[in-house]
């Protein structure tokens, strides 16, 4: 748990950066066409949310991110559990994973477009494909790293196979899985924006791209600020979940 002082310092640093941004904009060190000050960006943000469809774009991005992330999480944890629980499966599947994992998710966008067209299904597929890796690899690692003694305890108690998975392996792998969930959420946000830009789906990616093309830099920055906020709130929510779920790790 961070102290109040650290938190205050964090806010101060952020405020200083915003002030610096305002000074640079006011001095016109960068042309106002490209760089609005925080004042103009904030006005554009409020106006966009109140009078334009920025709110709908925000919801679109959140929806794309969460749907892809959930699909990736469910598939990643289930597959990871299957692979991680068996050393044989790990040996068989590891080479394939090593080949697929470093593949940039953006590289499969053309493939996904060919298969799904410029549709929400394409975005869902690409986001899920990109976000599944941290989850999958973390879950495999978590399941493979379960203390062997606990499996003996389970054998001595004659726990059923599902009970071993849900009462021993899954909770034991939970710290790894949560780390994977967090990384996966970041990837999901990035890919949601990329898909919105490329496929013209309703979302902040699309808003940012169009604003840039029309030299509406204040609108562009309003979108970027919202994207930052989405990432921040997502990480915060996972932090809170982690603190609750892993309370037993506190000394």
């Amino acid at each position: 748990m961070r102290s109040l002082r650290d938190r205050l310092l964090g806010v101060v640093v952020l405020a200083l950066l915003v002030a610096l941004w305002q000074i640079v904009a006011n001095l016109k060190l960068v042309s106002p066409v490209y760089l609005p000050g925080p004042d103009r960006a904030f006005t554009a943000l409020v106006h966009g949310l109140a009078a334009s469809d920025l709110g709908a774009k925000l919801m679109g991005t959140i929806e794309h991110m969460i749907e892809g992330w959930l699909l990736a999480s469910i598939a990643g944890i289930a597959l990871g559990a299957l692979i991680g629980a068996s050393s044989q499966a790990r040996a068989f599947i590891a080479p394939t994973l090593e080949f697929l994992r470093p593949l940039p998710a953006s590289a499969i966008i053309p493939v996904a477009i060919a298969v799904f067209g410029l549709s929400p299904a394409m975005a869902l597929g690409v986001i899920a494909f990109g976000a599944i890796w941290p989850m999958l690899l973390a879950t495999i690692h978590g399941f493979a790293a379960v203390e062997p003694r606990l499996y003996e305890v389970a054998a001595a108690l004659r726990l059923s196979r599902p009970a071993v998975i849900f009462k021993i392996a899954l909770p034991s792998a939970l710290p790894d899985i949560l780390a994977g969930l967090r990384l996966g959420l970041t990837v999901a946000l990035i890919l949601a924006v990329v898909c919105e830009m490329i496929a013209g789906l309703n979302g902040l990616g699309n808003w940012v791209l169009l604003s840039a093309r029309m030299f509406r830099s204040a609108d562009l920055f309003a979108g970027v600020i919202l994207l930052g906020a989405v990432g921040f709130v997502g990480a915060l929510a996972l932090n809170i979940a982690e603190r609750r779920l892993l309370a037993w790790r506190a000394p």
């Binding site: 203390e147 003694r149 606990l150 003996e152 305890v153 054998a155 001595a156 108690l157 004659r158 726990l159 009970a163 009462k167 021993i168 909770p171 034991s172 939970l174 892993l246 037993w248 790790r249 000394p251």
Partner: protein, 279 residues
Amino acid sequence: MTAETATKELGAARLAGADARRGGAGRDALIEFAGVSLAFAGKTVLDKIDLSIAKGEIVCIVGPSGCGKTTALRLASGLLAPSAGAIAFNGAPLQGPRRDVAIVFQDYGKALLPWRTAAGNVSLALEAAGTPRKARPQRIGALLAKVGLPNHADKYPSQMSGGMQQRLQIARCLAQEPIALMMDEPFGALDAMTRQELQDELLDIAAASGATIFFVTHDLEEAIYLGDRVIGLLPHPGRVGIELKIDLPRPRDQVATREAAQFLRLRRELYDFIKSAER
């Protein structure tokens, strides 16, 4: 069990248990090894072990490292199957771990679920046995009280000392309502005071429940103090080298028993055996 009242309550049961125990090898065998051998990767770990443990008996296994005493315990608990020979439990062939046989591991820190509280860890055994949800809290409370942890139900293992963690593991094992306890150097990692406390609590539990105990230790005095019988193994390959019947009166006492002439004589005999075995 540290409370005096509990000890008093157990007094009668302890005497009854001790009487029953006197019968020794003549009574019904609970666990029987007949020519049991075990080989790992071509290396013989245990060679033709014959061993009979009577119901209610406390048998301690000692021996130099590498003699296969932990392996013998794993065979007796069904975690391992012999390469040759047969193991019978209650007259029937032993086919893997049994719910009425509880195993107390030495590394209590690894044998507990760190994400569950003390109550949750005890609950695991009850869940495995299919105890109804409603009946669990009361049983858990009684078991934690029995091992001297009545006020620690909500603590996580990481918040407990080594002695408390081992007590907790014993509580989980008792939740299995075992007829036999398999204990693999359970007190080896604890400080001397805690070890003696737990030895006496174990004897109280054994007397009250009549459970058979198979106890592996490297501490010769502990073996004599606890056991009805002490079996010394020889290494390379592991085989029975000595068998001592311990006729020290029960209940045993940390001071008086350890000062008894017979205790010292047995200790000398066992010590000489270990010395010669290591040579």
